[in-house]
């Protein structure tokens, strides 16, 4: 389906508001929307809501061969799915420019920042290593998928546990969950992406653009940073020129945002751990609260069959033979020929 374009009056209205330091949803220029991080029952499954934008990330692992150029390292795959689920204008199975940019930035954020220790994923050098795969599904596109995906991906990696492995000579044993506690991935730092949108020759700048603001913006700057103030990615796109001061100002804002989001991720991880330890309910089913008008809950119900289901009732079985078959008439002898 085609994308509905923004009308000129809508565009002008948004631009006018921004030039007066106001935004449609009542935020200040440097505010993020509400952030909600939830984890699934399976390990390494993370669901992030940034305002109405929703992203689901799932980490999985398998044993495979390491890359020939790096025989001592495990492999990390990043896959970003932009399907029509998120927004009608996305098409299934076709890579768009937007999709390529997104997955490239995610790879730079997660792989090239070396946030994960790949060496610890090696089982037998040159032969067997863990392949870790992150699938990032964008569920709802209401702007700034990028920041939302980076939060979901890194939180999922931090939440994930892989099965323990022991090597004895040639024998490799992968221990089941009951056998041994699964081990977490070793993560050195938490890199996060922060997007800034620029308007009117780079004069006005806002953090966390919504979907409509993204349609109006002139250009975008993405800063990948961890809480130690180390920059791992920086990308400027669009038709605009930025002053040095603006880049510095953005990086200062990014420091604040990253520190805050990192804290949130840690709290969410700790909460999930606590809930699991205490055996409380957790997982996505808990995301839906029963108080909303649009949600509903039916507690577990015991179903009583109308009669004893384990007993074969003879009436129906015997009556069938006398009945006329619904195949029209009695099944005829089937003619089977055979050639050799």
């Amino acid at each position: 389906m085609r994308e509905t374009p923004l009308s000129n009056c809508e565009k002008e209205f948004i631009l006018k508001n921004i030039s007066e330091q106001r935004r449609l949803d009542g935020r200040n220029s440097y505010d993020y929307r509400d952030l909600r991080i939830a984890f699934g029952v399976s390990l390494g499954c993370c669901h992030v809501e940034l305002g109405k934008t929703r992203v689901l990330a799932q980490v999985s692992c398998e044993v495979g061969q390491p890359k020939q150029t790096r025989p001592h390292d495990g492999v990390l795959y990043v896959n970003v799915e932009l399907s029509p689920m998120a927004c009608p204008s996305f098409e299934a199975g076709r890579q768009t420019e937007e999709g390529v940019e997104l997955s490239r930035l995610m790879e730079r954020c997660l792989k090239e920042s070396r946030c994960m220790d790949l060496e610890s994923l090696c089982i037998v050098a040159g032969e067997k290593a863990w392949h870790i795969r992150i699938d990032i599904h964008v569920l709802n596109h209401e702007g700034n998928i990028l920041d939302c995906s980076s939060i979901a991906a890194i939180a999922a990696l931090a939440h994930f546990r892989r099965p323990d492995v022991t090597v004895q000579g040639q024998e490799i044993t992968i221990h089941s969950m009951e056998d041994r506690n699964p081990v977490p991935l070793s993560i050195h730092h938490i890199p996060l992406l922060v997007s800034f949108a620029f308007f009117i020759q780079g004069k006005y700048m806002i953090v966390d653009p919504s979907e409509k603001e993204e349609k109006v913006m002139e250009g975008k700057m993405v800063i990948g940073m961890n809480k130690h103030r180390e920059i791992c990615t920086l990308q400027v796109t669009g038709e605009m020129l930025l002053l040095k001061e603006q880049v510095l100002r953005c990086s200062n804002i990014a420091v604040m945002k990253v520190t805050k989001i990192t804290e949130l991720i840690h709290t969410a991880l700790a909460n999930d751990k606590q809930a699991r330890l205490r055996g409380e309910k957790h997982g996505f089913a808990e995301l839906i609260s029963g108080e909303k008008l649009s949600s509903n809950q039916q507690p577990p119900i015991e179903v009583k069959p109308a009669f004893n289901i384990y007993e074969e009732d003879d009436d129906s079985m015997s009556s069938m033979e006398s009945d006329e078959s619904s195949l029209g008439h009695k099944v005829q002898e089937v003619d089977i020929k055979r050639y050799l």
């Binding site: 389906m1 699934g40 029952v41 399976s42 390990l43 390494g44 499954c45 109405k52 929703r54 689901l56 799932q58 999985s60 692992c61 398998e62 044993v63 896959n79 399907s83 029509p84 689920m85 927004c87 009608p88 299934a92 795969r133 699938d135 599904h137 569920l139 709802n140 596109h141 209401e142 546990r161 099965p163 969950m177 009951e178 699964p182 699991r276 055996g279 309910k281 957790h282 997982g283 996505f284 089913a285 995301l287 839906i288 029963g290 008008l293 649009s294 949600s295 509903n296 809950q297 039916q298 577990p300 119900i301 015991e302 179903v303 009583k304 069959p305 109308a306 289901i309 384990y310 074969e312």
Partner: protein, 230 residues
């Protein structure tokens, strides 16, 4: 080797202590949970959750246009990796179910697209997907000649029938059967099975699932009326 997702046993939902065999797990739904679609629903059955969205009736690609009815398209997205042949089969099953329920003749030369995202598969995933898709169609107010409710049962080695099985029950059991019923006469719209079973076990499972499907229909009605009446 297939990649695997790790689930710890102690994290799974606590076993119900009252006759666990005939219990339909807790159903939770949220209608209109997403904003960009015509209809969307997040449904959970116990720990299993799935997300369904519906677009339509909307424009259709010329190559798929049908002159007398709407084209029903269904996409199933697994959580890990690319769709496999097993997912294609699942898509085909669900597509033919909804081609039968949606009154496609009302919207010639248009498309109705259903997209399903697996969010957590911990048993009875197909049933959960079908139920979510049906609720999403209701949320998008697409005309249907009847509603459908899917209920799964599994057959343990000794022939014991378990309603709405968890992942563990499915793996341990000898067979599992997913029944889909219509809301008018509670007839069988679809059956998908795996594993061997006898005719008696089939019949027992059918009766149990039919009884349970009424609870699912009741849940659909409650969910819709909560949204519409208040």
């Amino acid at each position: 080797m297939a990649s695997f997702i790790v689930v710890k046993k102690e994290d799974l939902e606590k076993k119900q202590n009252v006759e666990p065999c005939h219990t339909l797990r807790c159903l939770t739904s949220e209608l209109g949970c997403l904003t960009r679609q015509d209809g969307s629903v997040s449904l959970s059955q116990g720990d299993t959750t799935s997300l369904a969205v519906v677009y339509g009736p909307a424009e259709v690609r010329i190559s798929r246009e049908l002159i007398d009815r709407a084209t029903v398209e269904l996409v199933y997205k697994p959580k890990v990796g690319l769709p496999r042949p097993a997912d294609r089969k699942r898509e085909q099953i669900m597509k033919s179910i909804f081609e039968a329920t949606i009154i496609t003749n009302l919207h010639p030369r248009s498309s109705i697209t259903i997209i399903l995202q697996e969010t957590e598969d911990l048993g009875s995933n197909l049933a959960c997907c079908i139920n979510a898709a049906c609720l999403a169609l209701l949320d998008a107010a697409v005309n249907m000649s009847f509603m459908v409710a899917a209920v799964a049962v599994s057959v343990a080695d000794e022939g014991q029938i378990k309603l709405d099985p968890s992942k563990n029950d499915e793996e341990k059991g000898r067979a599992s059967i997913t029944f889909v019923f219509d809301s008018v006469d509670l007839n069988v719209v679809s059956i998908v099975t795996s594993g061997k079973f006898s005719q008696i076990e089939y019949k027992a499972g059918l009766e149990l699932a039919r009884e349970a499907s009424q609870k699912v229909f009741q849940f659909f009605k409650d969910s819709m009326s909560r949204k519409l009446i208040r």
